[in-house]
C-alpha cells in the first residue's frame, strides 16, 4: 500500500520543511511561515481550481505549520474536499488533517460525516479503514451519534475484509469507551464473540480488546467467549515458534494476543465446563513449563515477551485461586525471579507474590521466600522495588514471623526513602498491633517507631497506642517505664513527648516508687521539653500537670508555680491561657476528693476498628497523594477545636488530649444543664476564685457543641409527633395506634360485641355482625365528662391501601355530629365489605377537642380476617380428604404455645365458635382435640380453612395447626387464634 514518506513526490513540501529547518532564528521561522501561509491562502482563494495534488500539498504544509505550534484558521474546507478524492494519498492527508485539527464547526462536521458515510459505504477496504480510523481518532460524541449504529454491522458483516473488521472493532471500542450509551447492544454481540475464532490474528486481537471492555458491563451476554478464548489460547500456546509467521515476535507466538486472552479470562470465574477447564489448566501448565525451558533466543525481547505471558498466566492463576498445585508452582516461579538479575523481573515478581500471599493455598509457599525479600528490602537500589518488597513483607506477615518482619521494617525505616516512610510507619503499626502476643513488645515497637520516624507517625498511630495502653492493665507500668526512659534522650520527637505526657499523666504513679523516676523527676523531665513544643503539645502537657497534682500531691506547689507563671497565665494563646487559669484555680479550690473524681484515670476506650488500618486503606486509594497530609496539617480543624488538638474530622478516634482530664466521664456535681459537663464544672469552680479574666467565655469547642445541641433532643420528639408517612393516606393525619391497640384487638377476635376502649374521657363500644364477606359495625362513642367534645371526628383508614393500592376492605362510614355533649353518646355505623384477604386491620382514628386541648387517639378496628369465616360442617372422611389435599408445607401453619388462660374445654369450644369456624365432632380420634372447618369469604376469592387444636393439659400447652390454600392466611389465622388461649 502507498504511504507518505519523506515528501514522497511533494517537492514543494520537502523544500518548505528544509527551509524551516535552516532557519537560524525563531523570527526567521515565523517569517518563512507567514510567507508560506500567504502563498497558500492566495492559492486557495485564487480563481484557478486546484488539482488534487496541489490541494494535498498545501494541506500538508498547513498541517506541518500547525504541528510546529502555529494557529491555522483556514484550509479546513480544502481538507474536507480531499476526503472525496479517489486517490488514497489525497484522501489520507484529508483524514489526517481532520483527525488532528477537528473542531466542532457544525457546517464542517456535517460535510465530514457525509464523506465518512460515503467511504464506509464504498466497499473499498482501504477507504473504509481510513474512515473508521478517523471516527476512532476523533471519537467525539457527534461522531458516535452519527456512526455508532453502523459500525457493529460492518464488524460482523460476512463480506468485510479482515483489515476492515479489525479497524471496526477498534473503532467501536473507542466509541464505547467515549460514550457507552451510544453503542447499541443487540444480536451482533453474539457474533462478535465468534470473531475470536477468526483466521486473521489481527481481527482476533482487536476483538479480544473489544470483548474485554464490553463484557465488564454485561458479563452474561459474552459468557460464550470463555470457551472460544480458551481454545484460541490453547492453539497459540501449543503452536511452534514459527507457526504464526507475522505474529511471532522473537520466537514467541503472538505474545500480546496471549496476554489479552488471559486478561479476558480474568473477567470471569473459572470455566464451569470440565473439558474447557481441563484444556485451560493444560495451557497454564504449558506456559509454566515453557518458563523452565532454555530460551530459544538470547535476545532480551524474547524473554521479555515470554515473561509477559508468564506474568499474565500467574495473575489468572491467582484470580482463580482454586488450583493449589498451580498456585504453588506460580509461587516457585516467582521465587526464581526474586533473584533474577533483571530489575524489572524482580519488581514484577515481588508485586505478583504480594497477591499470591493472600491466597490460603500459597501463603505458606510465599513465606519460604522471606529471607530473599528481606534481603531485597536491604539491598535493592531502586526505591520502587524496595517498596514492593515492603508490601510483600506486609502481605506475608502472620503470627509466626511478625517479630522478624517488624524488626526488619523498623531497621529499614532508618534509611528508608522519605516518599514511603509514612506508609511503612502505618504498616509497622498495624502489624505490631495485629500480631502482638505480648503488649510490651507492641509498646516498644511503637515507641521505636516514634523515635526513628517521629515526623511520619500520624495522629492515628499514637492515639492508638494510648488507647491500647489505657485498655490493658498489664502493660501500663511497662509503658510508663519505657516512655520515661525514651524521654530521657536529649532530642526526642514531639510525638514522643505527647505519648510520654499522656502516659505519665495517667500511669506515672506506677513507676513513682523508683527514686530514679520519682514524681519530681518525672515532672522536671516533662517540663524540660515543654518550651520546645508546639501549642497543642503544651496544652496536653498542662493537662498532664494537673493530673500530676492528683497523682502526686507533693508536686502541687511546683506545678502551681508553673501554672501561675506569667508565661502561662498571660499566654497569647487563648487555649493555653485558659487551661493554665482553670487548672490553677481547680487545684487551689477543689478538695482532694473532688480532684480525685475530676482527674480520675481514663476509662477504657470502646473497642473499634483500628483507625490506622482505615488510614492505610485510604492511602492505598486513588487519591493517595492528598490523603498523605489530611488532617495532620489541616489548619481548619485547628480552628474548630480552638487549637486544642488538630483532630481530623475524618478520623473517628477521640482525641485523647481533648478528653485527657476525664471530665466528661465524671458526673458534673452542680451543673444545671447537664450537657457540657466539663465547661460548666470549670466555670462554677472558677466563679468562686480570684479575678476572673474577662476574656474567658466558653471555649470555642463548647460554643461549637452548644450550637449543635438544640436540634438534637427535638428530633425524636418531632418524629413521634409526626404521623408515620406510610399511614398518612390523605388530608387527615392518622397517628400510630396506641400501644394497647393490639391487646384490645385480640379481645375481639372471638367476639363481636363489647367495649373496645375506655379512658377518663371517652368510651368506645362496639357491636358488629358479619355475614359472608359483608359486615356491619356500630361504634358507640361515649363522652364520660361533663364537658362538650368539639370537632369530634372519627375516621377509618386501612393502612394496607398505600402499599398495595388495592383496598382489601371497603369501609363506608357515616359522619357523626361534630359535638358530643357531656355524658352523651353518639353512634356511628360502618358498612364493611371484604374484597380480598388481608392481614392488618383498619385503623380507627378519633380526634376531638376537650376543653380547648386537642385529643387524638388511634385504635385498631376489630375487623380481622376470621370475621368473614363461614362455618362448614363436614364428615370425618371429607375432612381428612381435604386435610390431605392441603399438605404442601406452605399451606400449613403450626404453633405450639403455652396456655395463658385456664384450660377449660367449654371455654375453648366457645372461643373456636366465636372465631368463626364450625366445630367438627367425632373427627379426631382423640376426644380432647378440637377440629374445625370453615371458608373465609371475600369478594375476590374463598379460602378453605381447616384447623386442629390439641390441648395438652399436663404440660399446659396447646398445639394449633391450620391448613388453608393460602400461605399468608394460614399463618395469620394461626397467630390470631393462638393468642386467644
Amino acid at each position: 500500500m502507498p504511504a507518505v514518506s519523506k515528501g514522497d513526490g511533494m517537492r514543494g513540501l520537502a523544500v518548505f520543511i528544509s527551509d524551516i529547518r535552516n532557519c537560524k532564528s525563531k523570527e526567521a521561522e515565523i517569517k518563512r511561515i507567514n510567507k508560506e501561509l500567504a502563498n497558500i491562502r492566495s492559492k486557495f482563494k485564487g480563481d484557478k481550481a486546484l488539482d488534487g495534488y496541489s490541494k494535498k500539498k498545501y494541506v500538508c504544509k498547513l498541517l506541518f505549520i500547525f504541528l510546529l505550534g502555529h494557529d491555522i484558521d483556514f484550509g479546513h474546507m480544502e481538507a474536507v474536499n480531499l476526503l472525496s478524492s479517489n486517490k488514497y494519498t489525497e484522501k489520507q492527508i484529508g483524514y489526517l488533517f481532520i483527525s488532528v485539527l477537528v473542531n466542532s464547526n457544525s457546517e464542517l462536521i456535517r460535510l465530514i460525516n457525509n464523506a465518512i458515510k460515503n467511504d464506509l459505504a464504498s466497499r473499498n477496504p482501504t477507504f473504509m479503514c481510513l474512515a473508521l480510523h478517523c471516527i476512532a481518532n476523533v471519537g467525539s460524541r457527534e461522531m458516535g451519534e452519527a456512526f455508532a449504529a453502523d459500525i457493529p454491522r460492518i464488524l460482523v458483516a460476512g463480506d468485510s475484509m479482515d483489515s476492515v473488521k479489525q479497524s471496526a472493532a477498534l473503532c467501536l471500542l473507542r466509541l464505547y469507551k467515549a460514550s457507552p450509551d451510544l453503542v447499541p447492544m443487540g444480536e451482533w454481540t453474539a457474533r462478535v464473540v465468534h470473531l475470536l475464532n477468526d483466521q486473521h490474528m489481527g481481527v482476533v486481537t482487536a476483538a479480544v480488546s473489544l470483548i474485554t471492555c464490553l463484557c465488564k458491563k454485561n458479563p452474561d451476554d459474552f459468557k460464550t467467549c470463555i470457551s472460544l478464548a480458551v481454545s484460541r489460547l490453547s492453539r497459540i500456546v501449543s503452536s511452534a515458534s514459527t507457526d504464526l509467521q507475522d505474529y511471532t515476535y522473537y520466537f514467541v507466538p503472538a505474545p500480546w494476543l496471549s496476554v489479552k486472552l488471559l486478561r479476558l479470562l480474568q473477567c470471569y470465574p473459572p470455566p464451569e465446563d470440565a473439558a474447557v477447564k481441563g484444556r485451560l489448566v493444560e495451557c497454564l501448565e504449558t506456559v509454566l513449563n515453557k518458563a523452565q525451558e532454555p530460551p530459544k533466543s538470547k535476545k532480551v525481547q524474547h524473554s521479555n515477551a515470554k515473561n509477559a505471558i508468564l506474568f499474565e498466566t500467574i495473575s489468572l492463576i491467582i484470580h482463580y485461586d482454586s488450583e493449589p498445585n498451580l498456585l504453588v508452582r506460580a509461587c516457585n516461579q516467582l521465587g526464581q525471579f526474586l533473584q533474577h538479575r533483571e530489575t524489572n523481573l524482580r519488581y514484577l515478581a515481588l508485586e505478583s507474590m504480594c497477591t499470591l500471599a493472600s491466597s490460603e493455598f500459597s501463603h505458606e509457599a510465599v513465606k519460604t521466600h522471606i529471607d530473599t525479600v528481606i534481603n531485597a528490602l536491604k539491598t535493592e537500589r531502586d526505591v520502587s522495588v524496595r517498596q514492593r518488597a515492603a508490601d510483600l513483607l506486609y502481605a506475608m506477615c502472620d503470627r509466626s514471623n511478625a517479630k522478624q518482619i517488624v524488626s526488619e521494617m523498623l531497621r529499614y525505616l532508618e534509611t528508608a526513602d522519605y516518599a514511603i516512610r509514612e506508609e511503612i510507619v502505618l504498616k509497622v503499626a498495624i502489624l505490631a498491633e495485629k500480631y502482638a502476643v505480648d503488649y510490651s513488645w507492641y509498646v516498644d515497637t511503637i515507641l521505636n517507631l516514634i523515635r526513628i520516624a517521629g515526623d511520619y507517625v500520624s495522629e492515628e498511630v499514637w492515639y492508638r497506642v494510648l488507647q491500647i495502653v489505657t485498655n490493658r492493665d498489664d502493660v501500663q507500668g511497662y509503658a510508663a517505664k519505657t516512655v520515661f526512659e525514651a524521654l530521657q534522650a536529649p532530642a526526642c520527637h514531639e510525638n514522643m513527648v505527647k505519648v510520654g505526657g499522656y502516659i505519665l499523666g495517667e500511669f506515672g504513679n506506677l513507676i513513682a516508687g523508683d527514686p530514679r523516676s520519682s514524681p519530681p523527676v518525672q515532672f522536671s523531665l516533662l517540663h524540660s521539653k515543654f518550651h520546645l513544643c508546639s501549642v497543642a503539645t503544651r496544652a496536653l502537657l498542662l493537662s498532664t500537670y494537673i493530673k500530676f497534682i492528683n497523682l502526686f500531691p507533693e508536686t502541687k506547689a511546683t506545678i502551681q508555680g508553673v501554672l501561675r507563671a506569667g508565661s502561662q497565665l498571660r499566654n497569647a494563646d487563648v487555649e493555653l491561657q485558659q487551661r493554665a487559669v482553670e487548672y490553677l484555680t481547680l487545684s487551689s479550690v477543689a478538695s482532694t476528693d473532688v480532684l480525685a473524681t475530676v482527674l480520675e484515670e481514663m476509662p477504657p476506650f470502646p473497642e473499634r476498628e483500628s483507625s490506622i488500618l482505615a488510614k492505610l486503606k485510604r492511602k492505598k486509594g486513588p487519591g493517595a497523594g492528598s490523603a498523605l497530609d489530611d488532617g495532620r496539617r489541616d489548619p481548619s480543624s485547628n480552628d474548630i477545636n480552638g487549637g486544642v488538638e488538630p483532630t481530623p474530622s475524618t478520623v473517628s478516634t477521640p482525641s485523647p488530649s481533648a478528653d485527657l482530664l476525664g471530665l466528661r466521664a465524671a458526673p458534673p456535681p452542680a451543673a444545671p444543664p447537664a450537657t457540657s459537663g466539663a465547661g460548666n464544672l470549670l466555670v462554677d469552680v472558677f466563679s468562686d476564685g480570684p479575678a476572673a479574666q474577662p476574656s474567658l467565655g466558653p471555649t470555642p469547642e463548647e460554643a461549637f457543641l452548644s450550637e449543635l445541641e438544640p436540634p438534637a433532643p427535638e428530633s425524636p420528639m418531632a418524629l413521634l409527633a409526626d404521623p408515620a408517612p406510610a399511614a398518612d393516606p390523605g388530608p387527615e393525619d392518622i397517628g400510630p395506634p396506641i400501644p394497647e391497640a393490639d391487646e384490645l384487638l385480640n379481645k375481639f377476635v372471638c367476639k363481636n360485641n363489647g367495649v373496645l376502649f375506655e379512658n377518663q374521657l371517652l368510651q368506645i363500644g362496639v357491636k358488629s355482625e358479619f355475614r359472608q364477606n359483608l359486615g356491619r359495625m356500630y361504634l358507640f362513642y361515649g363522652n364520660k365528662t361533663s364537658v362538650q367534645f368539639q370537632n369530634f371526628s372519627p375516621t377509618v383508614v386501612h393502612p394496607g391501601d398505600l402499599q398495595t393500592h388495592i383496598l382489601p376492605l371497603a369501609v363506608q362510614t357515616k359522619r357523626v355530629a361534630a359535638q358530643v355533649d357531656g355524658g352523651a353518646q353518639v353512634q356511628q355505623v360502618l358498612n364493611i365489605e371484604c374484597l380480598r384477604d388481608f392481614l392488618t386491620p383498619p385503623l380507627l382514628s378519633v380526634r376531638f377537642r376537650y376543653g380547648g386541648a386537642p385529643q387524638s387517639l388511634t385504635l385498631k378496628l376489630p375487623v380481622t380476617i376470621n370475621k368473614f369465616f363461614q362455618p362448614t360442617e363436614m364428615a370425618a372422611q371429607d375432612f381428612f380428604q381435604r386435610w390431605k389435599q392441603l399438605s404442601l408445607p406452605q399451606q400449613e401453619a403450626q404453633k405450639i404455645f403455652k396456655a395463658n388462660h385456664p384450660m377449660d374445654a367449654e371455654v375453648t369450644k366457645a372461643k373456636l365458635l366465636g372465631f368463626g369456624s364450625a366445630l367438627l365432632d367425632n373427627v379426631d380420634p382423640n376426644p380432647e382435640n378440637f377440629v374445625g372447618a370453615g371458608i373465609i369469604q371475600t369478594k375476590a376469592l374463598q379460602v378453605g380453612c381447616l384447623l386442629r387444636l390439641e390441648p395438652n393439659a399436663q404440660a399446659q400447652m396447646y398445639r394449633l395447626t391450620l391448613r388453608t390454600s393460602k400461605e399468608p392466611v394460614s399463618r395469620h389465622l394461626c397467630e390470631l387464634l393462638a393468642q386467644q388461649f
Binding site: 489526517l96 476512532a136 473507542r174 521479555n304
Partner: protein, 129 residues
C-alpha cells in the same frame, strides 16, 4: 488500559504525545513535565516501572529517545514494555533508521501509526500499510 504515550528527547522535550483519555491542554504540560522528570532521572539499574500518582509509567530508553507509556493498574507491564520496543522497530523499518528528528518530522505520520496500531490500547503486531 493505556492512558497516554509520550516520546521525549534527552533534553526532556516532548516529541510526540498521544492521549487516550481526555486531559486538558494546560494540564498536559504539567503532567508531561512531571512524568519526564521522574523518568529521566532513573538509572539503568532501576526498574522500568514507576508508580506515578494513581497509575503506572513504563519507560524505555533508546539512545537519545525516551518512550513513556502511562497505564492504569490492570495493564501487563512487561507486555507494554515490549510493545514499546515493537513500536520502535516498526518505526525503524518504516523510516529505515529512526531518529528523533524523524519522529518530530513525521509527527503526524507517527500519530497515525499509533492510533491505527493500538487505538485505545490495542496492540496489533504487524502493519498493514
Amino acid at each position: 488500559m493505556i492512558k497516554f504515550f509520550l516520546m521525549v528527547n534527552k533534553q526532556g522535550q516532548t516529541r510526540l504525545a498521544k492521549y487516550y483519555e481526555h486531559v486538558e491542554i494546560n494540564k498536559r504540560t504539567v503532567l508531561e513535565t512531571e512524568v519526564i522528570k521522574s523518568c529521566l532521572s532513573r538509572s539503568n539499574e532501576q526498574c522500568s516501572f514507576i508508580e506515578f500518582k494513581d497509575f503506572k509509567l513504563i519507560c524505555r530508553r533508546y539512545a537519545a529517545l525516551l518512550i513513556v507509556v502511562g497505564v492504569n493498574d490492570t495493564e501487563n507491564e512487561m507486555a507494554i514494555y515490549e510493545f514499546i520496543h515493537n513500536f520502535v522497530e516498526v518505526l525503524d523499518e518504516y523510516f529505515s533508521r529512526v531518529s528523533e528528528l524523524d519522529v518530530s518530522f513525521f509527527k503526524a505520520v507517527s500519530q497515525v501509526f499509533l492510533s491505527t496500531w493500538q487505538s485505545t490500547g490495542v496492540v496489533l503486531i504487524r502493519f498493514y500499510f
